[in-house]
């Protein structure tokens, strides 16, 4: 087990390096000279001299690989440099300022997703092809075919403008988190329900379920103890990964609801060409994705006796 964890972590490290390298390379794909951009956004006329000075300040005059290493060293110490827009602000500060709002939004959504989708999925699987199941399947279908920003607009129109019970945007007013969180969770609810339902139905046709019935176990025990656990086992990867997807999915929602989180920061940085922030965002999401993957794999490994069985023998 420990051996597996160590090995798994050892594999994650080169992946992280690769991700950081991509994040670093991307900024060098910019069609314009970063130094020039940095000057322009601060409304300094870019003469050759100033550009040269800026290049030196940003370290752009050094060789490529050396720049990567020094950048990486800074990044490890959580120093992502300064924002181009506002030179006095560090990227780290900007991100940590926006992060709590996003985390709040994403975690509430996650709670909604789990609370809603699990009971529905189990119910649908147990009463397959019942009226309820068919109705939910229709909803799931619509849920996967509908763009979530349109859902957001519809919800704003209904609850904020028509009924006037919830605020349209921002995060100051009471209850302002409800609409964005619900909208964000809707897409994932349909994904989750479909995933778990189908997986449970598949598992129910397995021979071990039949044998459990033969052994005279209660249907409830069979569903919860055997079928559900096996289904979660096989969807654990997808479920774990959706945490990251939820975080990156906030980009659209935050923009519609003017939620001051990291997704909105990212979009405004794209419009303002504030490259260091974009870079930090990419890096953060990439690393998060790898970490999530790592945790999911370890959990999966821990829960499935088929995977760590070799150690016992």
């Amino acid at each position: 087990m420990t051996k597996y964890i160590i090995r798994r972590i050892l594999i994650a490290i080169p992946m992280m390096l690769a991700v950081s390298f991509i994040a670093f390379v991307l900024i060098n794909l910019i069609p314009a000279d970063p130094a020039e951009v940095a000057l322009r956004v601060n409304e300094i006329i870019p003469t050759d001299e100033v550009i040269e000075a800026m290049r030196e300040e940003l370290g752009l005059d050094k060789p490529y690989f050396q720049r990567y290493l020094s950048w990486l060293w800074d990044v490890i110490r959580l120093d992502f440099g300064n924002s181009y827009i506002n030179n006095t602000r560090t990227v780290y500060g900007e991100i940590t300022r926006a992060l709590p709002a996003t985390l709040r939004l994403a975690s509430l959504s996650l709670i909604i997703v789990i609370l809603v989708s699990f009971p529905i999925a189990i119910f649908c699987a147990v009463y397959k092809d019942s009226f309820f199941d068919r109705f939910i399947r229709l909803l799931i279908f619509v849920g996967t075919s509908i763009p979530n920003y349109w859902v957001a607009l519809l919800l704003i129109w209904l609850f904020s403008l028509k009924l006037g019970i919830l605020p349209t945007s921002g995060n100051e007013a009471k209850g302002s988190i409800i609409l964005p969180a619900v909208t964000l969770s809707l897409t994932y609810i349909s994904t989750y329900v479909r995933l778990i339902r189908n997986n449970m139905i598949e598992n129910m046709t397995e021979n071990y379920v039949f044998y459990a019935r033969v052994r005279g176990l209660k249907e409830r025990v069979i569903i919860i103890k055997h079928v559900l656990k096996n289904s979660l086992q096989s969807c654990i990867t997808a479920l774990g990964m959706s945490v990251v997807q939820l975080l990156s999915g906030t980009v659209v929602i935050e923009n519609i609801f003017s939620w001051p989180g990291i997704g909105r920061l990212c979009i405004s940085s794209i419009f303002n060409r504030d490259y260091p922030i974009i870079q930090a965002y990419i890096l953060m999401m990439g690393i998060l994705f790898i970490l999530c993957n790592l945790i999911v794999d370890i959990v999966h490994h821990k829960l499935d006796p088929r995977l760590h069985g070799g150690d016992i023998n």
Partner: protein, 272 residues
């Protein structure tokens, strides 16, 4: 096979919806009642009339015409993206599946890295770095999706290569071209078509989302996501503006999703 396709109602209906949409988009110039970009402030927010069947928007432009012209960027570009993705993915997947050792290993590691970013983040990254615009959005979409297809197709190639009927063909010395054209391609193609059709919905939504955020198609070009973005600004005064483009996306995405499910049934050889 064709008869089976025609017998399946879902496939028939959804295919017609998609084909009609494509035709309307292709002949937008002839079909649309008005110029989609002709603004007239006097006519803004007008209700449906003979001249403007679906009314006009905040600049007095004909909504129906904008919807029709919007098919081009929304549906055509998504189709283009998908075709490029599949072409690239298939090519690399097949190379990887047929080659053993170092080539396969290198390709798979590259795929791993490509797949180690959440897709939305990767698109944002590319667009963020290369700049706002639909070309970059398409480029980014292809960049993040090909690896997934390459991996799928590689595993299919390996799976079918171990099927007994291909082992038999190899045993008796059937020509490689026969094995590939008669055994491999029909099986792989039908699986890929189903996957790609189901994925089309995702691509349409993803491209229109980016246009909605202002990162993709730029004003004043008519695009469904961009139209919704404009509708969002007048949500409090004219909420009905958001209906038409939203429904359009819903219908076309549903059509692709249903078609994918239908094709899965039809292309399964065990279905009678």
């Amino acid at each position: 096979m064709t008869r089976k396709l025609l017998r399946n109602k879902v496939v028939l209906v959804t295919t017609s919806i998609i084909l009609i949409t494509i035709l309307i988009g292709a002949f937008a110039h002839q079909i649309a009642p008005n110029d989609p970009n002709e603004a007239s402030i006097i006519n803004k927010y007008s209700r449906s009339s003979d001249e403007f069947p679906l009314g006009t928007d905040h600049l007095g432009r004909c909504i129906l015409s904008r919807l029709i012209y919007g098919i081009r960027p929304t549906v055509f570009l998504s189709l283009f993206t998908m075709l490029c993705t599949i072409a690239l993915g298939t090519l690399i997947g097949v190379i990887s599946g047929y080659s053993i050792g170092i080539v396969d290993e290198v390709i798979m590691r590259i795929c791993d890295i490509m797949l180690s970013f959440p897709s939305q983040v990767m698109i944002l990254a590319v667009v963020g770095m290369l700049g706002v615009g639909i070309n970059n959005v398409i480029f980014a979409s292809i960049m993040i999706k090909w690896a997934w297809y390459a991996r799928m197709i590689r595993s299919m190639v390996i799976k079918y290569n171990n099927k007994n009927y291909i082992l038999y063909s190899k045993t008796i010395g059937t020509s490689r071209s026969f094995i590939i054209t008669r055994h491999m391609i029909p099986n792989i193609i039908s699986e890929v078509i189903v996957l790609a059709t189901l994925d089309m919905g995702w691509v349409i939504i993803s491209i229109s989302t980016l246009s909605f955020l202002g990162l993709g198609v730029q004003a004043p070009t008519a695009e469904w996501g961009a139209m919704l973005s404009e509708a969002k600004n007048v949500l409090s005064t004219n909420p009905s503006q958001m209906l038409a483009p939203g429904l359009a996306i819903l219908i076309i995405v549903s059509a692709f999703n249903l078609l994918g499910d239908g094709l899965r049934d039809v292309l399964d050889p065990r279905e009678v």
